[in-house]
Subunit: 479 residues, 2 copies
């Protein structure tokens, strides 16, 4: 900046409504500044959200559905205003869906980082040269979305990133065996030109996936890493309350020697599984003869066929990619060695749809508790009803929930559509699947006010005092 | 599921290592379940990260740079292992960068939601038909990345989403004037086939942008919404400590009647600005004659020319898109009316690069405090040095920081490369720009141990007891 302009800048600065760090630098010390900053934070508490302002169908019973409904989760998710169809296999994720997805992303982050995963973010535009080097440019056929830039250079939209991550690691000249295992992952949009997109988010063309890639010093170390990722996946699904089966799987066009799928059992599942009733064996039917009924592991059990939705996939890749892209590390003998790789996918949008498919009834969504868009919905009485007077308690209650329970910050909505009966609003609430619905009704007018709490997943209804209610809600796990 | 398979499923369930919600449903009540879930959470505390395990250059002084360095932020970001070049204008965002970006996204979420913004997520694959309807399919020329799917249908990769969001809102048949203003935003990857990508993340082809769209009942209401978004932008930049100027701007090919840019002053800025030294007037030179020196607003001030990096842009669109896509709401007279729109962009990756460009020296990065990848770096003494004994204090200190200061959870790294001198590691730390560096050196061996704290942004060094240190660090704002 030239000296002549300083007087101009001075005025420009003054026009900024709040003091910025830039200004504070000159007249406050380090400790003072930290205090000022911390105090700003308290302003940012999000108020309780009124249902009437949420971008979702105001009255779920009247929603018309566009397009062919090929499964329950697709229908429920469109009806509840979670998704809206765009092009075939492409969806808008609406606000409640984004909340659930962000929660799932946080759970995935926690579990991946707990085993040492480091999160990065790779471009969607992948150079054709990289994919030609791995020979997948031809191998992927029509599933790859391809495009040219203004200079005529070929790209594809990444459906997976083995090529991209391996070439990245190959460029780090200083990678040492001490830094391995190296686990890099991303949670980003992926693209796959499915011939027949269907089942809503279960088979789309644009979707979110978590893809992790591991780099190890030896085959043995790579197997240990592989096992630790499988355990993290099991913990993840367990935290979500989803019953997931790990089955042996085909390696497909990713290549490699060892592979498992994580399958959620569901009638509309597109994968045929064989599960042993006697031992731990289970497999995708692709890996064996489909009419086989004896278990190859325990020899005594009988294999039973079932269907599953694939929500995760793990591959031990060996040196398939690291060899081609020359991804080396410097060994303990200080010599360059080719890394052993694995790759590990989780379908983020697919997990949400599959969970809804598995857990919900035909009438309404039931979420894995941790992933519900909002944990609590408060229903005040209908205006003009006998219990109208109880409405005065609502404001105080909602304020208390938002302010005193840190786990519920931003998790409480108020169904302020008080021109509607409690019954009608309860029906909407059960369609959207709030884990806890609090009705402020006739019991709130008793000498010691009590609130009706409907706990969706347990199918229980309880009548609790305000303290009892706070005590219950304080223990809800949120992420 | 068929009854015959129940015995198989029973065994499958038993193989899941932890009890799932599915099982718990049958034998535990609602309150019990909440307790079980809450207790799981405490396991997930992330340990302090050792620098030797981070995916970043081990020794920053020796990093070779690929490609042409066109500006300071690009060079510093590549040297520090924040980004790595992929194709022209496309970058890998490496782990430290992802942390900063996630922080910036949280700040943006807070500010957008504070003014009623609701977050959604729209597909990157945008149907050509939508863009032909708005006539931008031709208007955008070579800047649009275009592709065909396997059926020969035309798509573009969304550089912005006026068409997509307006058609979404048009499909909501029940939108009432009571729900307006409606503010929908997303923070997603955008694509623009720049003829000459340069300046690292400042002019890329694939980048992250926050784009918000507003729908209002009238021109007057739309202007109020426009103003409230501009104020939110000013608050946002103020919280980041960035001096941002709001200037009147050209509307470009987005269309509309009123537009402002948010500009960060920088020598490498590609926008020419005229700023009045006397009143609040400032403008992009595109909106007026570039040799004008008298201020059109106050008439007495002199306009001074400067350069800026555009980090935000607001447009009042009127009915340009809502008319074409028939985005209506039902008015207070219960009649369908065309909504008044606005759109508001913020360059997410660009803000990070511009902040580094503005705040850093040639030698090292200085972050907006809130956005630093990690807040604190702890340096233990060199092995075999005179003060080697102080190392025993480090473990206790690091444990204390991580456990007792909730604001610093996951924010503390330990530079465990104790084969290097403190001086060399301090140099690395100043390149990466940790806001607080704690040296455990000779003062830690005094009767009352003291720690050396280097507060980067203030340029201050302090010697504090453990309690004094905790007291200082407790007040760091994190997001």
């Amino acid at each position: 900046m030239e000296p002549i302009m300083h007087h101009v800048w001075l005025r420009v600065f003054q026009r900024l409504q709040r003091a910025s760090l830039f200004l504070r630098k000159s007249h406050s010390g380090c400790a003072e500044q930290a205090t000022v900053l911390a105090s700003i934070h308290s302003r940012r508490i999000r108020p309780t959200l009124p249902v009437s302002r949420l971008y979702q169908p105001l009255n779920l019973r009247d929603v018309g559905l566009q397009g062919e409904m090929t499964c329950k989760s697709q229908r429920l998710m469109q009806q509840a205003g979670l998704i809206h169809p765009s092009s075939p296999g492409c969806y808008y994720y609406l606000p409640a869906m984004v909340r659930s997805m962000e929660k799932l992303v946080r759970v995935i982050d926690q579990e991946m980082q707990a085993i040492g995963g480091q999160k990065l973010d790779m471009p969607s535009l992948c150079s054709a040269n990289l994919w030609k080097t791995s020979e997948r440019w031809d191998l992927m056929g029509n599933e790859l979305f391809r495009l040219k830039d203004r200079h005529g250079v070929d790209y594809c939209l990444g459906p997976t990133h083995e090529e991209a991550v391996t070439t990245l690691v190959a460029h780090q000249a200083t990678l040492s065996y001490r830094q391995l295992p190296l686990l890099l992952y991303q949670i980003t949009r992926k693209f796959r030109d499915e011939p027949r997109p269907k089942f809503g988010l279960l088979r789309g063309r644009e979707f979110y996936m978590k893809d992790m890639y591991s780099f190890d010093v030896s085959e043995e170390a790579a197997h240990q890493t592989y096992e630790s990722v499988c355990q993290a996946y099991t913990r993840l699904f367990s935290r979500l309350g989803l019953c997931c089966i790990q089955v042996q799987a085909d390696t497909g066009n990713i290549g490699g020697k060892l592979s498992h799928e994580f399958q959620l059992p569901a009638d509309i599942g597109e994968d045929q599984l064989l599960v042993c009733g006697n031992c731990s064996f289970s497999a995708n039917v692709e890996t064996m003869s489909s009419d086989r009924t004896d278990c190859p592991q325990c020899k005594t059990g009988t294999l039973v066929a079932t269907k599953g939705i694939e929500v995760g996939h793990t591959f031990y890749l060996g040196k398939r990619y690291s060899h081609v892209f020359n991804a080396t590390f410097s060994s303990s003998q200080n010599k360059p060695s080719i890394a052993e790789m694995g790759c590990y996918g989780l379908g983020v949008t697919r997990i949400l749809a599959a969970a809804i498919e598995m857990m919900s009834t035909e009438e309404g969504i039931c979420w894995p508790g941790l992933l519900a868009p909002y944990q609590v919905c408060v229903l005040p009485p209908k205006i003009g009803s006998k219990v109208d007077k109880a409405a005065v308690l609502v404001e105080d209650l909602v304020h208390n929930l938002g302010e005193t329970l840190p786990n519920l910050r931003g998790e409480v909505v108020l169904d302020d559509r008080t021109q509607m009966t409690i019954g009608k609003r309860l029906k909407d609430a059960s369609k959207l699947g709030y884990p806890y619905v609090i009705v402020v009704g006739q019991h709130a007018l008793e000498e010691t006010p009590r609130f009706e709490v409907i706990c969706q997943q347990m199918g229980e209804t309880m009548f609790l005092s305000k303290d009892g209610l706070l005590d219950l809600l304080r223990r809800i796990e949120t992420v």
